[in-house]
Symmetry: C2
Subunit: 210 residues, 2 copies
Amino acid sequence: MDHNIPDPSVRRLSAYLRQLERLAGEGTRHVSSRQLAGYIKAGDAQVRRDLALFGQFGRRGVGYEVDDLINVLRTILGTRQRQWPVVVVGAGEICHALLTYRGFRQRGFDVVAAFDIDPKKIGRTIGGVDVLPMEDCAPVIQRLEVRLAILAVPADAADETARRLCECGIEGILNFATTGLEVPEGVFVSEADITSHLEQLSFRLTSHRP
Amino acid sequence: MDHNIPDPSVRRLSAYLRQLERLAGEGTRHVSSRQLAGYIKAGDAQVRRDLALFGQFGRRGVGYEVDDLINVLRTILGTRQRQWPVVVVGAGEICHALLTYRGFRQRGFDVVAAFDIDPKKIGRTIGGVDVLPMEDCAPVIQRLEVRLAILAVPADAADETARRLCECGIEGILNFATTGLEVPEGVFVSEADITSHLEQLSFRLTSHRP
DNA sequence: GCGTGTGAAGATATTCACAGCC
DNA sequence: GGCTGTGAATATCTTCACACGC
């Protein structure tokens, strides 16, 4: 399987999967690229191209079988064969929201531990997940073979914490901090700063209308 | 000011602003496109191009004045002249995290109210913000001239709630639900589904290494 | 008829490379 | 020497349009 997949395509693959899961829940068995495109802001050719990057999954004249395509997309995204253990660092409000959200598991992610440096937070259990002292992060990550971390610490601690996570072998970081992170080669970062999202919107509402 | 600004550029403008705010806090007065690019995964020419979309803000041989550029970027992003009132819909855990996060205000956003349909949640005050019944959303949005909403309801309620918000005059939605939304022409949606972010990462860690 | 898969064309975004100014 | 701003070149992404199979 090739490696030069554009970022926008990967984002859309996620979006297709979300729609397909919904369709499957409604009992729909077949779907066309045009339908799928309708849910996303995209054209039907775009949908077919995105899928064609990985193989041929449809039938001409018919479309795609919903359940099949779900499995294909999960395989592509890496959430079919394995359940990904994930750690959350920083036991604040975002962490709380993440640990009580029950939707991750069925999508292939499993929050196995949270870490903090605040003794008042350490020892608590939130949503069935223990909040552990930051010192434990290396052994836990290694023992459970955790490769993904969610970073939810204050901005001024983000970079240092990220460095530490990378040392423990973390390869992917979902970053809720407002700071951009400096990470070693081979570590992927996905930015989830909420303020930036709001700024995208405020930009679009500011004198840039079509 | 033109309107055909690429989405990736707008995302980077946010990122530059975050870095500049940090630099300003550290007392740094000048910055070059190369430095700025170093924080982001981008080249120096990219930084200059992004800024050149809106004007000329640097001095040759010198670089950019940090405070000036902060003001420029805030103006571009629309967060300099005005404080944006924002409503949160769905008073769950994410809402709780949003209402207790104190960083929005200094970045130009002000959460003015939260809404829910659950009587047990209505009437509470979280982080100084009242949780109001969903029926009040239209009058509040109109009275406070709210144009931005954060959608934090369960997936199955997302589309219907979004429709309702658009009817109230909301023009930008930050969507935490896993569903893609169908919104009228002229309404902007920014997707913040956390599972999708995790899927981006798990994809990159799955057999697609360089 | 319908809908996929895909070369070829087109549109967009990024990088190069250098003139011009500090 | 350093660094911006920007045409020109390149790379990347998206759309068109049609052959092929259902």
